[in-house]
Subunit: 339 residues, 2 copies
């Protein structure tokens, strides 16, 4: 700590409390217990803590701009989230600037630093798949810049978030397939380490359980998120003696691959095989047959993220420091599962 | 002019020469004739012209950032252009920040001002459909900030540009349909005022002419750029006694609408009706039948725009002040026209 100024994070670590608690304690916020406030303020004095001058400048000099970091701009999901953010920003007469991390943590860090240097009034961010260290996120907090995470968030971060309920969405999709008469619902998913995959698997299992269908682990299979990989995986699945009569795919591309495999094997959709995908990609609607899917309401995700950010920026009285908003996904039934 | 400082644009207007000529004359650039240089420098002195302090700051203080203004982020064309820009920017260790005008000129102006305030090193921009006044663009030039336009540009602006050759692309598409045996190629296009529509119409006419097919004006029809509108227009076209045997549609959605109409009327694709769309949208590949289309190479458009911008920013010796790069479109033959 010798060569750099003391930050809120240092105080938080020394006292084993959260950054946001320290931040609120320094502002003498009555939501924080008096004991904690006194401990924080005492330590801040001892360590000669000074609010970051950039942070102070940020507070006095509004730029009326919001910076958004997304993993990919070439993704209709993220692009539509941005559109939702823009709607709310327009209402407040704010501008939105977007940068893409291209799923690389070094770029995500650069994007964040760029936005801080450009004095953005607030930052909305969805993490890369690879983000597991959070110094750049803590820096935003240290500087007192309002921030909201969405979609790809982390449990390790005490920040306001807009999240999906992936387990509930998967439960809805699988229950719909079972209600349509499916006895053997396969789940086609991606690599094991991905949180949303784990959550959707949980929803899949719960839906089976709720309908008293025993879990058959051989019906859970993994591949990459592409049409081609999904097709060859589905060709294998559907060629088994005891083949599935329905497939829940973790994204629409996989569902499209599964349908292509079924066609190649002469199976009728949806009668021989019902299929539901995920995320309501543009093409899912126009395929033949059209693909049932879970719509994640990306515009609403963007709107909610922006609303949370403006609450923080405007410090509205009812704005709690940390909020989590869940945006539910809606089932869209199309030909691929409409029995 | 009483209350505002004199700009390069004022000097340009008084002398009836271009802003870039004035800018170069002030720098004593030998590409400009001595007479012009002297006239410009004399007038600048008389009018007490001072370089904009912000412009000077911009020149001395690099931010290693590029601002991009697109009409829509929710468009795979523009998103892919941004991806191309990012590739080149990455190589130069620059960051890219994107803002969307949402096809509104007031937002485009705000975006430009935002980027100028944030001290971007360069700006890449595609105009809204409605942009017909250019003060915000001239302001970028006045401040000496490097700039490149792409896709939606204007003849009134003396700026480096990356453009499509829409006439040549339409010529390629229509020639392909005629080579496949089509005798009556219809052209489904959008509102009359749009420049790219005019250019593609020119290519359509030229292709007919080159094949000695007389122009039948009743085969040129207009509707909105949606699947639904195109379908109802095509139902009308294909119900005529002397119906077309091929359709060249100005975008993929219109092609998809035309195919839906043909199916409804029991026509076989491509034998009864061959169809080519435009822009290689994601869904065009996955439709059934898959849709032939013109690919505009958006990533290359972005890369070329970024290359032109870096030439300006780095003032490489061979960098002429104003350059125009044409990125050609490629025909992608799929089922809808593959005879």
């Amino acid at each position: 700590m010798a060569n750099r100024p003391v930050t809120i994070k240092d105080i938080a670590e020394k006292l084993s409390i959260s950054v946001s608690t320290v931040s609120r304690a320094l502002k003498n916020n009555p939501e924080i217990s008096l004991t904690t406030r006194e401990a924080v303020q005492k330590l801040a004095k001892e360590l000669k803590y000074q609010p970051n001058p950039l942070a102070v400048a940020l507070k006095t000099q509004k730029s009326n701009t919001i910076g958004v970091v997304v993993p990919q701009i070439v993704s209709s999901f993220y692009a539509t989230v941005v559109k939702g953010i823009e709607q709310i920003a327009d209402e407040h007469n704010y501008q939105v600037f977007v940068s893409s991390s291209n799923e690389r943590i070094e770029k995500e860090e650069k994007n964040v630093n760029g936005f801080l240097n450009m004095r953005m009034d607030g930052i909305i961010l969805s993490l890369t798949r690879a983000t597991t260290t959070y110094d750049h996120i803590h820096k935003i907090q240290d500087m007192g810049v309002p921030m909201v995470l969405f979609d790809r968030t982390s449990k390790e971060l005490e920040v306001s978030k807009v999240v999906a309920d992936d387990a509930a969405a998967a439960h809805t999709a699988v229950t719909h397939l079972i209600n349509g008469g499916a006895k053997r619902v396969a789940f086609m998913t991606g690599p094991e380490f991905m949180l949303f995959g784990t959550n959707r698997l949980r929803g899949y299992k719960k839906a089976l359980e709720d309908k008293n269908i025993p879990l058959d682990e051989t019906l859970i299979s993994r591949c990459d998120f592409t049409v081609e990989d999904a097709k060859s995986l589905a060709l294998d699945l559907l060629s088994r003696v005891n083949r599935p009569d329905a497939i829940f795919a973790i994204n629409d591309d996989m569902a499209i691959g599964a349908i292509a495999a079924a066609k190649e094997l002469g199976l009728k959709i949806p009668n021989d095989l019902a299929v539901v995908g995920f995320s309501n990609s543009r093409r899912s609607r126009y395929m033949e047959p059209s693909v049932s899917t879970m719509d994640q309401n990306p515009k609403e995700v963007g709107r909610e993220a922006a609303r949370l950010l403006f609450e923080q920026m405007e410090k509205t009285p009812d704005a709690k420091a940390i909020k989590e908003v869940v945006v539910h996904a809606d089932l869209i039934v199309r030909t691929s599962s409409d029995k």
